[in-house]
């Protein structure tokens, strides 16, 4: 077990190294002088030189790279040009909304998926079971940015049930925070639930053809009990992996949702950094997202090995 974790931590470092290095050279291959772009044409040569030195843009490329690498290893991701703060601090200030959105929507989707698929599995002939497939296909087809605007139009602008945008930290003021979270989380939940449901449906069908079910039926176990005791727990496992793999597209969705609902999370920060050409911040946020992705998948795999004894071998 310890060995597995160590191996995964090594992979984590490798991924971060590759992502960071690629980004470093990509961002520095942009034609033009970032310092000039940032300060405009009226800047004096002294100002330009000072900013270049601040950005680590002096000296040959490999020297810049080694400097940057040394800083990163010691936990220094540089200073955001726009915020005038260390990159890590900017990330820390904006991580809470993103995590709130990601975690709540994933949790709700997971529970919903289990409920829907269980219902369909226990009573396969009612209307839910027959419409699940088409509904999930349609749920997968809805563009998040469009769905978000539609729910804003219906539930915020017309019915006035929820605010159109904004974000309040949950622990600062739960009464104000929850209504603001409902619409953005709902949009994320629809897409995710559709995706999880498809995975779990396939899992259920895979289990249905297993020979142990014939044994159970021969013993006289009822269909309902077979579904609940045998099929569902086994079908749930692939969904767990899907949660991890889906994290990448979830982050993509969160970026869009944050920008529509004006939520000050990592997505908004990244888009802002892109428009402001804040290279240290872009690099920091992207590396952080890569880190999150690997960490989430590590967590999922560890949970998986806890739930499923078959894969517990190191």
């Amino acid at each position: 077990m310890v060995l597995v974790i160590l191996r995964r931590l090594r992979d984590l470092v490798l991924v971060l190294f590759v992502v960071g290095t690629t980004l470093f050279f990509l961002l520095r291959s942009i034609p033009g002088d970032p310092a000039q772009v940032l300060l405009g044409t009226k800047a004096s040569p002294e100002q330009l030189d000072r900013l270049r030195a601040d950005l680590g843009l002096t000296g040959p490329k490999y020297e810049q790279y080694l400097n940057w690498l040394g800083n990163v290893v010691t936990g220094d991701f540089g200073t955001s040009i726009h915020y005038q703060q260390p990159v890590l601090q900017v990330i820390g200030d904006h991580i809470a909304p993103t995590l709130t959105l990601a975690v709540t929507s994933t949790a709700i989707s997971f529970v919903l998926t289990v409920l829907i698929v269980s219902w369909a599995a226990v009573s396969p002939h009612n209307w839910v079971a027959r419409f699940v497939n088409r509904a999930t296909q349609f749920g997968l087809a809805l563009p998040e940015f469009w769905l978000a605007l539609l729910v804003v139009y219906v539930f915020a602008l017309n019915l006035g049930w929820f605010p159109t945008s904004g974000y309040t930290p949950f622990f600062a003021d739960p009464v104000a925070a929850v209504p603001q979270l409902v619409l953005p989380v709902a949009v994320l939940v629809i897409g995710q639930t559709a995706f999880f449901t498809i995975t779990m449906e396939e899992g259920v069908l895979g289990e249905l053809s297993q020979p142990y079910l014939r044994t159970a039926r021969a013993k006289g176990v009822t269909e309902r009990r077979i579904a609940i005791r045998h099929v569902l727990p086994n079908a749930m496992l692939p969904v767990l992996t899907t949660v991890g793999l889906n994290f990448a597209s979830l982050i993509g969705g969160v970026v869009v949702i944050e920008s529509i609902f004006v939520i000050p999370g990592l997505g908004t920060t990244l888009l802002g950094a892109v428009y402001a050409r804040d290279f240290p911040l872009i690099q920091g946020v992207v590396m952080f997202i890569a880190f999150l992705f690997v960490a989430v998948n590590l967590l999922v795999d560890l949970t998986y090995s806890l739930v499923n004894p078959k894969v517990r071998v190191a």
Binding site: L26, E202, G252, I289
Partner: protein, 304 residues
Amino acid sequence: MTATLVKKAGAPPRRRPLAPVASFARHNKTLVVAGTLLVSITVLVLVLPLLLTDPNATDPARRLLSPSLDHPMGTDKFGRDLFARWATAGRVSIGMTLLITLCAASLGTFIGLVAGYFVRVGSVIMRIVDAWMAFPSIILAIVFAVVIGPGMLSELLAVTIIFTPYTARIIRSRTLSLATRTYVKAARVSGMGPWKTLAVHVLPNTLPLAVVQCVLLSAGTMLIDGTLSFLGLGISPPTATWGNMVADGRTYLQEHPTMVLFPGLSIAVFVFLLNLAGGSLRAFVDPRARLLLTQQRRRRKVRA
């Protein structure tokens, strides 16, 4: 197989020429309906711009009109006819989707073939491919938009890079099993070079899989294309795309919700049809998907 043999043995010579087509259509209703609709929408957006006014012609006297007979989708803040813009946007969105899908599928097929056939190189390639897959697609597209500048090229590169690994993995696993077939080995033994063997014996057998993959990929491509255009990181105005039309309409959501509704709905419907078509096509090449489909059909029948 047996059915055709039996038919040949005591077959009545009279045979309706369209019978196989009709039978195919009866057994694959979803595929036929979805396919027909997809083709009709594509033809529609190809033909309509020829008949309608210039999508970029402004008319300050007719700003922000609601849908009417003259302007079926209304007009925008410059007085441009939104129906004409919708049609040209469809051309761009569907065109970009096709282009990106073709690039990703051919690159993915190539990588998959090489990685599956040359095993040692393959394992290294697949490591890299796995690392690609790990990356949030929107984030990658954002990075490319920064490096190259937002537009068609950055979108093409970013989305191709995102979707290539999926095809590569599937084609590789197929190639791995094909490479052990006797006819492939026979070809090698009889002196055919590895590249020619790949092209003549392996590639044709992976093509059905690649085609299905294409359809499924294009659904994802269209969604990402829409999202990037919406964020202003894809093809930029004044060229209309369904994504940037939604972004344009966003300001007028309260008064003119149709400006957001129509282009977004077009994306949703198109992607939905692609998903349906891809799902039923998958049943031809993937036994798991076939099982899923028959199971669902049985479910529906019991009730009906």
